[in-house]
Amino acid sequence: MSRHLLFDRIDEPGLNTIGVYERRGGYSAMRKALQMPPEAIIEEIKQSAIRGRGGAGFQMGQKASFLPKGEMAKYLVCNADESEPGTFKDRELMQKSPHTLVEGIIITTYATGIHRAFIYIRGEYQLQADILDQAVAEARSAGYLGENILGSGHSLELVVHRGAGAYICGEETGLLDSLEGKRGNPRLKPPFPAIEGLYAGPTLVNNVETLGTVPTIINMGGAEYAKIGTQGSTGTKLISVSGDVQRPGNYEIELGMPSREIIYGLCGGPRDGRSVKMWFPGGSSSPVLLESDLDLAYDFDTMAKAGSMLGSGAIIVVDDSHTALEVMQKVVKFYAHESCGKCVPCREGTNWTLKMIERIEAGESTPMDLDILASAQSQIIGHCLCVLGDAMAMPVGSIVEKFRDELAEEIEAARERANSLAYATA
């Protein structure tokens, strides 16, 4: 049985209001934290060893400690863009327990000496953004935001900023440009946001779930938190499971749970008579795994070792009623559409890959084209300004590699179809 820290009774009516949230013990972590020296909070977070829940899996405590100390214009940006296909966990948390996030932000800014924070939420999440606005207003009336919070000397302005529909604004530097009112193009790194981020000031960027876990860490203590999960992947994780499973949705699991248990146990597996053909363990950007990988433990390190990644914790299950070409085409179409266009290998690589796939569908390819397709992917990887290009090339590369024979057959079949159509109409 897994533990529930973030999702604990999350459907309780009214939990999105400050009254219910506080009645259930909400904001106690904030009160506790405001009594602690800021360094001690960072220390707790470090000890919890919590890794970022947004995709890259970088340890939060470490990132927070990169920020320069002292008084200056520093910023915290909560990444609530949640646009990775298959991912919808932040949505549920923000909608049902927005104060968890607000509380996490207050604690984190206090610990890092930040006085301005932004929640960058994707524009499509209108309901959730309205709920967050409400929560921020409630927290402000309660004196948890604004000047000198509860007499601690800590001040914080928190603004909910709505995006307008661009996947790349989930990438932290693209997000910063977007938040500065520009096109959401990623920036060159270095400098990293912790050194030079929003408005050129040091900036901490963290995912909703990462920040939302901070109150729990403060309440139970970092060391205690670190006991949950595995050594390299501590804690619980919100996961979004979708696709060909019987009970899709968000689940909170302890990291290290066997993948089969998630897909079959929690989610009921594919419909009867169907089997898992492939699954994306961490959103559509992660290389696909097969049925044979189902017994792997679901944690950061095991997924990486298997040649994929845990990413945002979004599992997409594809059963054997779908073709590999179909899946690949959807993935490619998405990244070609979402490439910001700034750097050449991503812009032209995704766009060329899409055209190659359209040519396959039109019956104008031969299996040899799969070599070009695969090599184009390897030409993208590692050459782009940010990793959006890689995010297409890796899953596509993995599909070509793992389903090569099937793809070759599909290519031949498409050619047959096109030819017979041509003769039929001739």
């Binding site: 060159l188 979402e338 266009g341 995704t350 766009n351 060329w352 070009i372 030409q379 590692g382 050459h383």
Partner: protein, 813 residues
């Protein structure tokens, strides 16, 4: 402000140890060490690298991923590989990706032969393509502006053009729209990209996506030669390269000189070269016949006719325009003083009034001269009574750069709203003609505590940092100049490196011409000379019949000087008018008796002086068309006709005479001036600059200033100021490509006055004063203070030069 320090470090590139200045980008350090790394998007002139094209990827030991060498500053001990297999693969990949959508229409592309994409594809590409997918196709080329064509098929989205618009010119008109592979370069809602510096994007584009409409299909790179020169169309004196084909200038490119232009060029400088080769150009001498008609004539006939100047010995006067070279000014002054026994020569185009030699010397004192680069690194720049974008466009870019990159604090004090207002910490408006009063109150505020914007400015100048540069316009009156000097003194500008004054004169080579001695009562090097009359006095005297002959060297006073009617009478009053001109402007067409064809800036050999004291060389890039002869030669021949043997037989001799005559030029040679110029205030000879005597006591120097601010009369008249648009030039009027830009009378009004007078934006209006009437178009600008109106001067028709009084009546037509 401290300028960047240069510390040498060493690193290893491809197994070779090389030296580089710490902090330079790897790609530059490699190039300096003869290792070429290909790139497209990198262009240091555009600011911080964007790392978009990924062409410059290299391997740096210790970093797992390949890094962009355009954005990686060198560090001591760095080990870099640019030719290893994975780098080659990356380069191949990027070239292949770039060509996925590129049309490869090199045979019909203007850029062919000078195209980075072509070169890099050959040098670093695989040489074959695997792309058989259809490319995107568009209608091409399309107009982006009257000057620029865009071919979107060829664009590689390198960001250079949009960065120029956004981060250098800061006009924010040129943008990327859409996203991903759909991204394209465009503007808002089909508006053309028309801005003073738009042409630079043509030069920046590394492919044939942006091409010059006037240059399209005129030449191939192997048909042309480049010839270094200096643009003579405004005092910025930007360094240029003329592209020459068959002895014709077919294109003008920027020639980067950090001390002058930073590698940019305005559209006037870039496109007005067309004026060199148009039918309107005067290419033979013209002499007015007995019937009153101007007719082409032979040189002998024309020199003979102009030789009649000798009959007006002691009653001749000369004016000289800003495009003259130092040598021409020097010879003209000799002709007048030595040959015709007159001191009546002036080169000042503003309403300068009588010359105060001490004031002039004091303002030109070497220690007080700020340089163009000082604008970029100063703590504070004050722009006083000048609008850089019109008066010296390239300085507008330099000031923006200082503010943007180095945090220079900018203040503007002017009558007319400035394009730089938004970049300024403080923008102060005074009434047109109110600069003297304003400066007095500033001087007073420097020593007296108080509040208000003048005090704010005073505080900024006093406490904002030591390096203060004041950029001031030539139209400042003499009393205003005296106050300016006292302010400079009070701020200690002469004592500080990097601080000082920088004058923006009205004419291109105004400074050089003055230094050569073309001033009433001042000889070469601001030396004493026999007394002479100022331009305004010459006009009055000529109108009164006291002056018999007028010698107009590359100037039409009806066009360039205030009081058009006065000059009309003066020209009519003179018995003989001798002119040198490239085109037949109004005044000359009606009044000149002899016109010698003048050289264009691309034809001249000689020197000019930049407003910051930099001597620069003009070299003839093309043969003079038709019968045109060198200006120095015509002047020397003419001098002979009036009995003066100047001893000048070559351009070089004229230069040497000039150097000998101006003490602070001592030791200068053409070689030393070279292609980059040389600032004389920095030389040892500068000490020979004559010291100013005591200045005439200024009235009201320390008294409390009178209240300033616009003073429109109660009868609804408006206080008129003038401006001279960047486009107000005869070269612009006759360049076919620039026809769309020709300056007309645009009357700038405040919304309040427009409302009161019932005038809509763009409406036809009449400006009246004492029987003088001008027609124009109204432009409503929120920044114009109520009670004032600004009128265009220096334009061909309906020019504000006709006005003589400060108040005007504006009404709807």
């Amino acid at each position: 402000m401290p300028r960047p320090e240069r510390k040498l470090i060493s690193l290893t590139i491809d197994g070779r140890e090389v030296q580089a200045v710490e902090g330079t980008m790897l790609v530059d350090a490699a190039r300096a060490a003869d290792v070429e790394i290909p790139y497209f998007c990198y262009e240091p002139k555009l600011g911080a690298p964007v790392g978009a094209c990924r062409m410059c990827l290299v391997e740096i030991e210790g970093i797992p991923k390949l890094q962009t060498s355009c954005s990686t500053p060198v560090r001591d001990g760095m080990v870099v590989n640019t030719t290893v297999e994975r780098v080659k693969e990356a380069q191949n990949s990027i070239v292949e990706f770039l060509l996925v959508n590129h049309p490869l229409d090199c045979p019909v592309c203007d850029k062919g032969g000078e195209c980075p994409l072509q070169d890099i594809t050959f040098g670093w590409g695989k040489g074959r393509t695997r792309v058989i997918e259809p490319k995107r196709h568009f209608v091409k080329p399309l107009a982006l502006s009257p000057l620029i064509a865009i071919d979107r098929e060829r664009c590689i989205l390198c960001y250079r053009c949009v960065r120029f618009s956004q981060e250098i010119a800061e006009d924010w008109q040129l943008i990327f729209t859409e996203r991903g592979a759909h991204t394209f370069v465009g503007t808002h809602d089909g508006h053309p990209y028309v801005a003073p510096f738009s042409g630079n994007i043509i030069e920046l584009c590394p492919v044939g996506a942006l091409t010059s409409r006037p240059y399209r299909f005129r030449a191939r790179p192997w048909d042309v030669e480049g010839s270094g020169g200096v643009c003579t169309l405004c005092p910025s004196q930007c360094n240029v390269e003329f592209t020459v084909r068959d002895d014709k200038v077919t294109r003008v490119l920027a020639r980067e000189n950090p001390g002058v232009d930073d590698g940019w060029l305005c559209d006037k400088g870039r496109f007005a070269y067309q004026a060199i080769h148009v039918d309107e150009r005067i290419t033979t001498p013209l002499v007015r016949g007995a019937d009153g008609e101007l007719r082409p004539a032979g040189w002998d006939e024309a020199l003979e006719a102009a030789g009649a100047l000798a009959e007006h010995r002691g009653r001749a006067a000369a004016l000289i325009g800003g495009q003259a070279s130092n040598e021409e000014a020097f010879l003209l002054a000799r002709l007048l003083r030595e040959g015709l026994g007159s001191g009546d020569i002036d080169s000042r185009l503003g309403a300068a009034g009588e010359l105060d030699l001490n004031l002039m010397r004091a303002l030109a004192a070497p220690a007080l001269q700020a340089s163009v680069s000082d604008l970029e690194f100063a703590h504070i720049v004050l722009v006083l009574g000048t609008e850089p974008i019109d008066d010296s466009p390239i300085l507008d870019l330099r000031i923006r750069k200082g503010v943007r990159r180095n945090g220079v604090k900018l203040a503007i004090a002017s009558a007319r709203p400035s394009a730089l207002d938004h970049n300024a910490k403080l923008a102060i408006r005074f009434a047109p003609g109110g600069e003297a009063e304003f400066l007095e109150s500033l001087e007073w505020a420097l020593g007296t505590p108080g509040s208000g914007e003048t005090h704010e400015l005073a505080a900024l100048l006093r406490d904002g940092g030591e390096e203060v540069v004041i950029l001031w316009g030539e139209s400042l009156s003499a009393p205003a100049r005296a106050t300016l000097l006292r302010i400079a003194d009070r701020l200690g500008l002469a004592e500080r490196q990097g601080a000082g004054l920088l004058e923006v004169p009205l004419g291109t080579n105004a400074r050089g011409i003055r230094e050569a001695g073309a001033l009433p009562g001042a000889g070469p090097g601001y030396g004493e000379a026999s007394p002479g009359r100022s331009a305004a006095q010459i006009a009055a005297a000529a109108a009164a019949g006291e002056i018999g002959a007028l010698h107009l060297f590359q100037i039409d006073p009806l066009r360039e000087l205030p009081d058009r009617d006065g000059w009309e009478r003066a020209l009519a009053g003179a018995k003989l008018v001798v002119a040198h001109a490239a085109t037949l402007t109004d005044g000359l067409a009606r009044h000149a008796d002899v016109i010698f064809p003048a050289e264009s800036g691309a034809e001249k050999d000689g020197t000019v002086v930049h407003p910051d004291g930099r001597l620069q060389r003009l070299r003839s890039a093309i043969r003079r068309p038709g019968e045109v002869r060198a200006g120095w030669q015509v002047l020397a021949d003419l001098a002979k006709r009036v009995g003066l043997d100047t001893g000048v037989l070559t351009a070089g001799m004229a230069f040497r005479q000039l150097i000998a005559a101006v003490p602070f030029y001592e030791g200068l040679t053409l070689e030393a001036i070279g292609g980059r110029g040389l600032r004389w205030p920095e030389t040892e000879a500068a000490a020979a600059m004559p010291a100013p005597g005591p200045l005439a006591a200024a009235a009201g120097a320390s008294a409390t200033p009178a209240a300033s601010g616009p003073r429109a009369e109660a009868n609804g008249h408006l206080l008129a100021g003038t401006y001279r648009s960047i486009w107000a030039a005869s070269e612009v009027e006759i360049s076919p490509a620039l026809r769309f830009a020709v300056a007309e009378q645009v009357v700038e009004l405040s919304p309040q006055d427009a409302d009161r007078l019932g005038i809509e934006d763009g409406a036809a209006v009449r400006v009246a004063q004492n029987g003088t009437r001008l027609r124009g178009r109204a432009a409503i600008r929120s920044g114009v203070p109520a009670g004032t109106a600004f009128l265009a001067a220096g334009i061909a028709e309906e020019s504000a030069n006709a006005l003589t009084e400060p108040l005007v009546e504006v009404s709807k037509l």
